[in-house]
Subunit: 219 residues, 2 copies
DNA sequence: GCTTGTGAAACCGTTCACAGCG
DNA sequence: CGCTGTGAACGGTTTCACAAGC
């Protein structure tokens, strides 16, 4: 029939999507260093992957390289940003301003790529009113209003594990369609809601496995 | 008594290893709830995966289930802990006690699974001497001694990106063979050193991609 | 009966290697 | 010539489906 989608950005494999932010970061460094073009080999080195992967990944966005030369840095930044949806500002609500929530709120990672903290929420009223990274902490009950007012689509959960599922449910009910979970809990979300998780304890256990592997084979 | 390296723990696929901590957590909940046996179906539900995966994963550790019944919870906890090398206490050194380092140090995830913070280090002398989670912050120059005295094999990097590679190099030089990096930087490590990374900004960008996907296809 | 354990099939991602093009 | 873009081979992971066994 017909390709109704404008770009070739139709179906980018998940593994490629996960690497695009890496390329973006590497390209920013290259641009700052004054480079205007970059080969797949050089970009691969800067991003810590191999060049075949870079070329395959970029080919999913379309053919923006020049054979014999490489890729134009600025152009590539535009295409990747566009593919990742970073041309539009994305609002985030962060729930749970304990130690971790504090750290996340203050992390440069938010502002640096066009993410904006539309709200910091906590269920503990003694924390409400505090200002973190220029944002005043509000009570969890204000969730609906914060999501609506800020056009929030991404929620970050930094609560204790026992509260995580309820917070998740409330985020979904409020209209959030992407969730990043830092609580050590398995969360259930309905279809159509994306869920990613970051878990320190699991990462350490995976490293422990490899440590054991290494020490177990002295021969 | 000391049952050496677990019999069938020969070659566990990486994807399975990454799920074992999930099963461990689910099994702990089940044990607390009084369950003594569990089917692959029930464990799958608790861990947020499907039952075929659970059975395949567990089969890599050996055959510890009973057909028609399921798995013995306590026994399974033992086998998984053993496979992950969690029967031995693992010492960790955490470098960088800024916002994120503070949060990580205070996170329950360390102590809960047999990880022990052997040292908190920072390059900023104004932070040295502070006590976090019962551990006194020492200067980065004490790294070698901390690693030696604590028999540390795992290093956690929670520094700014610009300092990360140097900290990484120093950790490796001190004898650390597994590194968990929270800094938004691509790190190089020699063969034999395991490196994992956690990156808030990348996770948000991946969610942004899916948000864009969702809003882009109203059909 | 119910549930495990596992070959086989389907799927996805990575790597290879080279044709095609500037 | 150098480097991209890509079909094809490869290796790992997930899913299926069912025989084996309590």
């Amino acid at each position: 029939m017909s390709e109704q989608v404008d770009d070739a950005a139709r179906r980018i494999p998940e593994a490629s999507v996960a690497r695009l932010p890496l390329y973006l970061r590497a390209l920013s460094s290259l641009a700052e260093a004054g480079r205007t073009t970059v080969s797949s080999e050089a970009l691969a080195a800067a991003a810590g992957v191999n060049s075949a992967k870079v070329r395959k990944d970029l080919s999913h966005l379309g053919s923006y390289g020049t054979r014999g030369v490489g890729y134009e840095v600025d152009e590539l930044v535009q295409h990747i940003s566009s593919a990742l949806g970073l041309t539009r500002r994305r609002s985030v609500v962060l729930v749970g301003v304990g130690n971790l929530g504090h750290a996340l709120a203050g992390y440069g990672g938010f502002a640096s790529r066009g993410f904006w903290i539309a709200g910091l929420l906590d269920a503990d009223r003694s924390r409400v009113g505090e200002t973190i990274a220029g944002v005043v902490v509000r009570h969890m009950d204000d969730l609906d209003e914060v999501v609506r007012a800020g056009d929030v689509s991404i929620g970050v959960i930094a609560t204790p594990a026992r509260a995580a599922q309820e917070v998740c449910d409330r985020l979904v009910a409020a209209g959030v369609t992407s969730i990043l979970n830092f609580a050590p809990a398995v969360l259930q979300v309905p279809d159509g809601v994306d869920l990613r998780k970051v878990d320190l304890s699991i990462e350490l256990q995976i490293l422990s496995f490899h440590e054991q592997r290494k020490s177990g084979i002295p021969a």
